[in-house]
Symmetry: C2
Subunit: 299 residues, 2 copies
């Protein structure tokens, strides 16, 4: 199982880096292969200061642990005392053009083992979109693509994982979602390994279908300092979410993961302004009024 | 007790705002008076986009609670089930010039009450300095001033509170202190209310003596985009500390405090760059090599 998943995730990493390099057409990903002292390791790939992509990280990691963290065993006592392996690919893309949304994807596989017992394994992951300027057509395309990836595995999956995405990417202190959502799933092993792995691949492979058309369409739109400033301000929310709430980020920092790989998700530049409110009847106000809310994009 | 402390803190707020306005000489603090739904409230004062001060917050708050949070009662069971009031002033100054360090100060008073029992009260607070470019003379002046404020109350206080400051303002995931430290104290009620309150005032009043000479001396130093970029990069660490570790920030966000007042501490603009390392034999490398470490500045 581990070999199959690892091969897929490394392939996905290569494919996505290639796609972003083609879209950017000025910069390449640099690659850092690293080893953790406990035997795990990873391949971090980061592209910075491209013409189109201001910063992107596409990271593979394979983590070994002697026991699962409390967060993972709290509701699943069968996991207590098991050693585990976690394989994952994380993607965060911060485009330069404020009309192109920031995108995030994660694909992960956990396997928890104990001598003399069958391994417990599951998949998790998903993707979500964070626009700075809202385009309804983009949101519909994003969610349509997510739904199309899920539907062959059960009509119940998209609504469930869409809801979980809305619940997860939410900033309580702002009473605001991070973006317009997408898919978020965890503890997924439905239908056995072959089916669950096929589902992971369907979601993973659909990320480019969901994001690349938006990137291609919006990356050449003209913008001014006003839109760039608003993008930097909104990126502050991205920083707040990732550092205050994101479980993967906090787990990584607390377990002495590779800090530079974990924090590749942070934007290249972000700003904070005291008590900012967008003027009424502006695209900046429209972002909050029409896009940053949990809603069904496919009605 | 509450009235005396409140009067002092509001006076300190006014004095510090006046000092920063004089140093900046272009912008004034805007003031927001707010009420919390549970009866508390505060006076938030923020100065933004000054010529000298890029962003400063000098906030007073008076919080009421029906019970102390777990963090406060974990080691002090006598506080369980008590209602409390917390009064405080928080100061964060992000100067524009990269040669001027960012400064932070906090002064707080807690009182926990229960019918039929004597109130339990204590002071907390301190101040710390976060330079982007190191000047040994500034660090010595900062710590000398801190020591001079403490010494009349006991020679043991400065070393203890200096150590607590080094321990508190530390980023484990970077294995790096936030800055060059200063004072940090909590649960302070030594010598009874009059003595403890006098100590608080001595520390509070010494903040200007510690910071203003540095601000005055460095604010006119010439700098280029290089120094500004490094300042923005280092401010990313300030964001990381405040959002991942700072107890006041996290407590405020989790207890539905006033988000814009809590997050006034964040810099106006910050940047992240993957796996940045300063070139050897540069002032940027010197910051890590000679300043960002727990050390005795007064030997």
């Amino acid at each position: 199982m581990i070999t199959q998943v690892k091969d897929y995730l490394l392939n996905l990493q290569t494919t996505l880096c290639h796609m972003f390099e083609q879209e950017d057409n000025t910069q390449y990903f640099q690659e850092d292969i690293w080893q953790h002292s406990n035997g795990g390791g990873g391949k971090t790939r980061v592209l910075e200061q491209g013409k189109i992509i201001e910063k992107a990280g596409v990271n593979f990691s394979h983590i070994l642990g002697s026991q699962l963290p409390p967060a993972a065993t709290l509701k699943r006592s069968e996991l207590l005392g098991r050693q585990f392996q976690a394989l994952g690919v994380s993607v965060v893309v911060h485009p330069r053009n404020p009309y192109v949304p920031t995108a995030h994807m994660n694909m992960r596989f956990f396997i928890a083992e104990k001598a003399g017992e069958a391994p417990v394994w599951w998949f998790g992951g998903g993707y979500d979109l964070t626009p700075y300027y809202g385009f309804e057509a983009d949101c519909i395309h994003w969610h349509q693509t997510a739904k199309a990836a899920c539907d062959p595995f059960g009509a119940e999956l998209y609504p469930l994982f869409k809801q979980q995405c809305d619940d997860y990417f939410y900033l309580p202190h702002r009473q605001e979602p991070r973006g317009i959502g997408g898919l978020f799933f965890d503890d997924f092993n439905a239908g056995g390994f072959d089916n669950a792995f096929a589902f992971l691949q369907a979601v993973g492979n659909s990320f480019s279908l969901a994001y690349q058309p938006i990137l291609t369409k919006r990356k050449t739109m003209a913008y001014t300092e006003r839109e760039k400033n608003f993008q930097q301000y909104r990126r502050g929310r991205y920083v707040e979410f990732n550092l205050v709430y994101d479980r993967g980020t906090l787990f990584g920092l607390q377990t002495h993961g590779r800090t530079e790989s974990i924090l590749m998700s942070l934007p290249p530049i972000a700003s904070w302004q005291y008590d900012y409110h967008a003027n009424t009847d502006t695209p900046e106000a429209e972002l909050s009024e029409k896009f940053l809310m949990a809603k069904d994009w496919l009605v």
